[in-house]
Each structure stands twice: as C-alpha cells, then as structure tokens.
C-alpha cells in the first residue's frame, strides 16, 4: 500500500474530492497547511510597511491506497487540481507497511 500525499490549492479541494469519490477512493484525510515552492510568496503592505508573505495557504490530502491504484489516483488529482499556474502543488508517494481499521481490526487492503 502507498500513501499519496498531495499538496493542492485550497479551492480545488472540492473538485478533487468529488473526482476521487467517483473513482472509488474510499477514504481521505485533509489538513490545512502552508507552504512555498516555486511560488515564493509575495509582499504586502500593512499600515504602510511592506512585508513578505513567505507561505501560502495550501491543502494537504493523504490518501492511502493499494499499490495498483496509485497511478489512477495521481492522474485524477492532477486532472482536477491543475490550473497550469505556479503554485499548483505536488504529489508525493510513500510506502505504507501496515493498515488497520480501528472499528473492526481488519488490516491492510481490507482496511482501506
């Protein structure tokens, strides 16, 4: 199993969620994060003082799926969250060795 971690623009969350539900992704965890990448933040003026906003608000999705679904999920995320503009975000894939469903004790693929 793999964990797919996607950092996307906040307002794309609903589209991504809908698309993933549609292709049968059974679970998803979301957190609010801030980040920078190519998109470097910008300057603002507050009470006459210029200051740099270093981090921009993003949303992080963690989705654990069986290995064979990884590429499909990644594609779907890209389709939905791509605006083509800087700051669209990134996807990371990491290995997951074990999964347990707390309610039933089911493990691994059955737990997803």
């Amino acid at each position: 199993m793999k964990q797919i971690t996607a950092i996307i623009k906040p307002f794309k969350l609903d589209d991504v969620r809908e698309a993933l539900t549609a292709i049968g992704v059974e679970g998803l965890t979301v957190s609010e994060v801030k980040g920078y990448g190519r998109q470097k933040g910008h300057t603002e003026i507050y009470r006459g003082a210029e200051y740099a906003v270093h981090f921009l608000p993003k949303v992080k999705l963690d989705i654990v799926v069986p290995e064979n679904r990884v590429s499909q999920v990644i594609e779907e995320i890209i389709t939905q969250s791509k605006t083509g503009q800087i700051g669209d975000g990134k996807i990371f894939v990491m290995p997951v060795e074990q999964v347990v469903r707390i309610r039933t004790g089911e493990t691994d693929a059955a737990a997803l």
Partner: protein, 446 residues
Amino acid sequence: MKTISKRANKGLLTALMGGLLLIATTGTASAQVTGETDFIFNSFLFLITGMFVMFMAAGFCMLEVGMVRSRNAATICLKNVTLYSIAGIMFYLVGYKLMYGGANAFFGGFGIWGADDALAKANDFTKLQDDGVNYASGSDWFFQMVFCATAASIVSGTVAERIKLWPFLIFTAVLTGIIYPIQGSWVWGGGWLSEMGFSDFAGSTLVHSAGGWAALIGALVLGARTGKYGPNGQVVGVMPGSSLPLASLGVFILWLGWFGFNGGSQLALGSAANAIDISQIFINTNLAAAGGVVAAVIATQLIYKKVDLTMALNGAIGGLVSITAEPLAPTGGVAMLIGAVGGVLIVFAVPLLDKLKIDDVVGAIPAHLVCGIWGTLIVPLTNKDASYLNQLIGVVAIGAFVSIVSFVLWQVLKMTMGIRASTEDEMQGLDKSELGLEAYPEFAAS
C-alpha cells in the same frame, strides 16, 4: 476666578446670557427654564453623556484587542478593564481635587472627593446659575472621571504586547491620580493656561495628547516588540492585528462615545442656547470623523493602491481627536475638513513612527497625539477668542510636563521592578506568561 474651572466658566456665560434673555423677555417668562429644571437638565446631561464616555473604555478595549496578536489578547483585555477601574478609584481619592480644587495656578489641592450639593438642597439655584455650576456635584465628578479614564486608555494600546502587567498598572495609577489631574488643572481647573487664554473645549490636548505623550514616552523607554524592526530600521515583522472585526467594533463604540465626550463638554443643557450648541457639536463631531475616514481611505488607495482598513479606523479616531479641541465653532463643512486633515496625518504618521522605530501597536500616537496637536493648534481658525501662540504654548507646556514626568516614572519603574517582559514571555505571548491562559484557546494560533 481660579476656583471655577474654565469649563464651568462656559456654563457661567450661558447662565449670564440666560439672565439677559430673561430680562429682555419678561413678558414671556413662562417660556423660560426654571432653575431646578436647568439643574436637572445639566446633571442629566453629565450622567447620560458620561455613560457614553464610560463606554469608550469598551471601545478602546475592542480596538486594542483587535490590533494585538491573539497571544496578547487576554492581557490587553485585563489591562483595559483594570485601568478603567484604577482611574475611577484614583480620580476619586486624589485626582478630582488635584484638578478642580482650585488651590493655585499649578494644581488644585488635595483630598478625597465628596459631594457638595448644599445650595441645591437649599433650593438656591440662582446662586448656582450665577456660579455656572447648576448641576449635581456628583454628576460633574462622574463626567470628569470618565475623561480621566480615557486618557489612561490611550496608553495601553501603544505599549501592548511587551509591557509587564504590574508596572503598567502602577503607571496608570499615577497617570490618573496625579499627572492627568495636574495638567488638567492648568486649563479646566482654572489654572495658568486657562488664565492665559489657552482653549481646549473637550480635550484634544488635555485628554488625548496627554495620553499620547505618556504613550510615546512609554514606547521609547520600552523599545519595540522583539522582531518588529530589522537592523536598518525597516519593518521585518508586521505582526498584524488578530481580529479586525473587533477593532472595527471598537472604533464604532468610540465614535458613539465621542458624541458624549464632546457634546457633554458643553457642560450645560438647560437652555435653548445650550441645546443648539450641543446639536452643532454632534454634527461637527460626526462630520470630522467621517472626514477622517474618507480621507484615510482615499489616501491609502492613492499611496498604496489598496485601502488599509486599520488606517481607516485610525482615521476615524484621528478625525474625532482633531475636532475635540473646538467642536462648536466650526461649521459642519469646516469640521469635516479639520477631520480629513487628521485622517491624512494618520496615514503619514504611522509609517513615520515605524521609521523612527517607535513601535505603537494600535496607532494611538498618530491618532491621539499627532491629531490632538493638530486639533488644538487649529482652534483659532474658527474660535476668534483663541490665539495661535497661546495654543502653541499650551501644547508645548502640557507636552513637556507629561513627557518629563512620564519619563521619570517609566524609568523608575524600569529600574526597580522592570517594565519589559522577558523575550521568551514575549515570544509565547503575555497571556500565557502573565495570566496563564489563552484568549482563544480553541483556535489554532501558533
């Protein structure tokens, strides 16, 4: 007569004019206000407008709590509630007599305030009217007390987020018990400045600049918040206010209270002439604030290409402070312009202070000190009894007095108990270090 305040003199004048009118119109004596009715009107004016001025304490609290970071929000609330309490107690125990006791040209006298309504109880309203004090003595105390509290409220915002609680409270006690009353006695207590002809209707200098000077000196002695300025003086940490809606609420409350502040400073309601004057004061107060807001909105749009809400809020206060020295004489249009200049002064003074590395968390120095000076100096434009020179002397004298005494006091506090929270306490916020709690414990704030 020194024992009668300048403020009271105004009432006296009205009473005298009322008397003349009385003579002129004996045929319609029934049209007159009786002495006791006059007494009630005047007392009621003090009490009702005083309530609105009291509510300004809530306005300051909300403005300040909205402009500090959430980690210091509970502390600023505590300071505001407590400073208002201290002001009331100190003004009762010491301040009122020191201001209005009329002992000499430089301070009033010593003693606890006590009611004196013997003449009224003896039904001698004529004497009271002749003396220009035809109101319940307690209503006057209440009205003067809330002014004293206002001066203290100004300081807390400037020195927020880094000052320790107890030295701040001690400073407040001295400010409200001694510093404010002494300089107040010079003008409203009938002292040397009023003799000289200095004019400050509702306190642009006596209340607002006085508070502003105390705040400025506090900011200088304390230093800026850790991380606010870079080595070359540029702002590196803007530390934006945590709740602009609460700050906006605060400004609305202050604006509301200001009708009481300026309107009640007419000091009398019991004649048609007074009612007419107070109406003009309301209009001018409102238009000056409106001018301040609109000027700040336009100025920030032109300069920064974006409208800055916090400047617009400061602009309202700036407009209000600007008109406070003379809210009666101008026409509405002139009042609006005086306020608008105040709003523009804000927009330039805020970044200027930053350039000087003077860290004023809420913008109290631009609004209360800078606009207080402006408002006081411009009085002669519309009030022909005032002179520019006298106004300048008053501004400088009070500025010097408040600054010097505040400086000594801040220094003494610094050297004895220390006035500045440790950097660690400052970083984690005073709410945790001084109060052991959080203002918004459930909302994630780092």
